[in-house]
């Protein structure tokens, strides 16, 4: 299977995606609310003297971290979505399908809303410790769900039970969160709502660099699973007959996808649609089921899509900004609609 040669067209598409992603990366650094000449952006990036101090601050402390986080988050979510869709053989599965995002949301709700109840702390205003607590709670919430799902998948045959579990976790989470909201102050509810809208601008340059490197490495490391994923996509029985330990592979994939989702959700909030839409776009363009190529394309396409959304959300030339989730929904929803429409004709 892997001995098949990669066509020139496929290589061109992957390189094209990389080039487009790079161009969007640069566009995110060049365009924004404030108009900064391109040469000044370049000088700021290379540490050369810039005409205005504020330009350097904007490029280095605002645009660069945001751009890196957007790219890293896109890669992580794109790969996580691909892993989920392959494993569940469900075209609408995404990173949130296992309830991991819901777990993260519950963790954050407990911190933001309960702390307000018990300790009169509004986390949006506690700064570093507030952010740290939110990130930690988000990770903890996500991992509690992740390990529960792993445990369940050990004792359940097939993937349907796991899928239903994830959905149920989502419902449970919403129920708990709505109770917490009911007894919270407006400020706390607003903080939680704002967190839920997603943002790529919560990290400083150092944190963003670490996050971006982590996500790029984490996303591309799934290439090691490409052969297993190819086998899984043929069906559990086939894969088993071909010598794959299906249960162990499935747990490893759930773990990987879960970690990627958990980390992105912790640092950016629950970014929607990217994880569902990116694998589809990649499959649509590449027209292949080979996961080596799909993983590479999903990584790049994930970065490309989120960089595009990030640029749109910042509305270059305007002083305002849009929440990232409103833009990703506009990208993701048409794709999902088109998939359902296509299926109608099958």
């Amino acid at each position: 299977m892997n001995s098949r040669r990669v066509s020139l067209g496929t290589v061109i598409i992957i390189i094209g995606t990389l080039v487009l992603m790079t161009l969007l990366f640069i566009a995110n650094l060049v365009y924004g609310s404030i108009s900064i000449p391109v040469d000044q952006v370049g000088k700021a990036l290379f540490g050369l003297p810039v005409d205005k101090k504020v330009w350097e601050l904007i490029v280095i402390k605002t645009r660069l971290p945001q751009t890196m986080v957007a790219m890293g988050a896109g890669m992580g979510l794109g790969i996580s979505g691909l892993l989920m869709q392959t494993m569940f053989r469900n075209p609408l599965a995404g990173p949130s399908v296992l309830g991991i995002s819901s777990g993260a949301s519950l963790g954050v709700a407990l911190v933001i809303l309960v702390a307000d109840q018990c300790f009169e702390i509004v986390f949006s205003t506690v700064g570093f410790w507030g952010d740290f607590a939110v990130i930690l709670a988000s990770l903890l919430g996500a991992f509690v769900v992740l390990f529960t799902v792993l445990y369940v998948s050990k004792h359940l045959e097939g993937t349907l039970g796991v899928l239903i579990m994830g959905v149920m976790f989502g419902y449970l989470t919403n129920a708990v969160v709505s109770v917490l909201k009911f007894y919270s102050t407006e400020e706390s509810i607003q903080s939680y709502v704002m967190w839920g809208l997603g943002s790529f601008s919560r990290l400083n340059l150092t944190q963003a660099t670490r996050f971006c490197i982590g996500m790029v490495v984490g996303s591309f490391s799934t290439l090691f699973f490409s052969k297993s994923l190819d086998l899984l996509s043929l069906g559990d029985r086939y894969a088993q007959n071909l010598g794959l330990n299906v249960d162990r592979t499935r747990r490893a994939i759930i773990f990987l996808a879960g970690v990627l989702t958990a980390v992105v959700t912790a640092f950016c909030g629950p970014v929607i649609f990217v994880g569902v839409a990116v694998p589809h776009i990649s499959k649509l363009i590449l027209r292949t089921s080979r996961h080596t190529l799909l993983i590479a394309e999903c990584c790049l396409m994930g970065g490309l899509v989120t960089l595009f959304c990030c640029l749109i959300s910042r509305m270059p030339g305007s002083e305002s900004t849009l929440p990232i989730n409103s833009v990703t929904a506009f990208i993701g929803a048409p794709i999902i609609i088109s998939i359902i429409w296509k299926k109608r004709r099958m």
Binding site: I13, G32, S33, I34, K53, V54, L57, I58, K61, T62, R63, E120, I121, V122, S124, T125, V126, G127, F128, W129, G130, D131, F182, T185, E187, Q190, S191, M194, W195, L197, S199, F200, S201, R202, N204, G269, I281, L284, I285, I312, R314, M315, S318, E319, S320, T321, L322, P323, S326, V327, F330, I331, P334, I335, S338
Partner: protein, 379 residues
């Protein structure tokens, strides 16, 4: 690949639709010159007095149109047996049982030092007023829930004469209306000037028979406020000021024509944002960065843990350290956890203004001790 292009175009077209910014538009006085109740600053209510009571109009902006709520206040001793027409509510005054659905409405009752008629409020959280807190704790005043989740049974059992509602909040009013209790929109917060907001004390006073006290009190406030603005009129140096901070990556900036901008102007400062917006709007950080980096002062009004200081602010976002105002120790704040700002500021515009003047031009009122605002502590 080609199949994918329509999707991109759909997305782009949809996104373009979102390129509209929101914000209020300055309103003109709807009731110039014909007020029987003398109003000098408030624009959004009108009262015509006659022998039997008052005809009241409250104007609120809903989406793109103005809504004029009309109701009739009738003195209890001149109430007729004639049934009320469907288009006109007749409310007996003075009211004996009142529910306030926002602590900002309580401000006027506190200022008039008359809270006896209040039987319900939305929440007691962060309430500083001792008398009201005692009444809530002893059960004389009930907590009736918040927008969208009112305890209707409790509200009905309290049998209020009126319920003061915030027309800017959504949810739950339809079910309240079913109870047949008059809902009075309190549009004080849509007034664009501090004195306009304070003048709503005259409106509240009609419901509780305190019209004279309200007029006397408001006149004193207006006199003091105007005296202070005269002080700053001649100042040569007008320091620049900006307001707020990031919340989840977004900075909500009060408009150049907002209530806060009026305060800054009256206090002899120059607000950094010079647009026509009356409300707050979300701005990208880099816009704020570019406009406020060299500003002289930075004002914060937020709920912070007690002991909030410069270190805590800088830990939230290291970019705050780039602002000149931060480096020059010119950050001042009002912590609503330790100051009764929301339950007092509407009726203390002269105090808020004095605080600002004390910060921007301390030489004008050297003896003054700030009440709401204080410099952000170093530790």
């Amino acid at each position: 690949m080609r199949r994918f292009f329509p999707l991109i175009w759909i997305t782009l077209a949809a996104t373009v639709l979102m390129f509209t910014s929101c914000g209020g538009v300055k309103t003109k006085n709807q009731y110039a010159s014909q007020d029987s109740l003398a109003l000098s600053y408030a624009n959004n209510f009108k009262v015509v007095k006659d022998a039997r009571g008052y005809d009241c109009h409250v104007v609120t902006q809903k989406k793109d149109k103005k809504v004029d709520d009309h109701f009739r206040l009738t003195f209890r001793d001149s109430i007729s047996d004639v049934s009320m027409s469907s288009s006109e509510m007749e409310i007996p005054i003075p009211c004996k049982r009142i529910i306030c659905l926002s602590s900002t409405q309580l401000t006027y009752f506190f200022a008039l030092d008359y809270i006896d008629p209040i039987v319900g409020t939305n929440s007691s959280r962060r309430l500083f007023h001792k008398g009201m807190t005692q009444r809530i704790n002893s059960g004389k005043v009930k907590r009736v829930g918040k927008q969208g989740n009112f305890n209707l049974e409790l509200i009905a059992s309290l049998q209020p004469d009126v319920i003061f509602v915030s027309p800017f909040k959504r949810g739950g009013y339809a079910s309240l209306k079913q109870l047949g209790i008059p809902l009075i929109p309190m549009a004080a917060y849509s007034e664009e000037t501090p004195l306009g907001r304070a003048e709503w004390v005259k409106f509240i006073s009609l419901f509780i028979g305190k019209e004279k006290e309200a007029t006397v009190q408001f006149d004193q406030i207006a006199k003091e406020y105007n005296r202070l603005t005269q002080l700053t009129k001649e100042v040569k140096e007008r320091p620049t000021v900006f307001s707020g901070k990031l919340r989840s990556g977004i900075w909500y900036v009060p408009g150049g024509n907002s209530f806060y901008a009026h305060y800054f102007r009256d206090a002899g400062a120059e607000y950094v944002f010079k647009d026509q917006y009356t409300g707050a709007r979300p701005l990208d950080f880099e816009t704020v960065y570019a406009k406020c980096l060299d500003a002289d002062y930075w004002r914060l009004l937020l709920p912070e843990p007690v002991g909030y200081n410069r270190q805590m602010l800088i830990k939230e976002d290291e970019r705050y350290g780039d602002f000149d105002a931060f480096n020059r120790d010119h950050v001042f704040m009002c912590n609503i956890r330790s100051k009764p700002f929301y339950e007092e500021n509407a009726m203390k515009p002269h105090i808020v203004l004095s605080d600002y003047i004390h910060i921007f031009h301390p030489e004008l009122i050297p003896e003054y001790k700030p009440y709401f605002y204080e410099p952000l502590p170093n530790e």
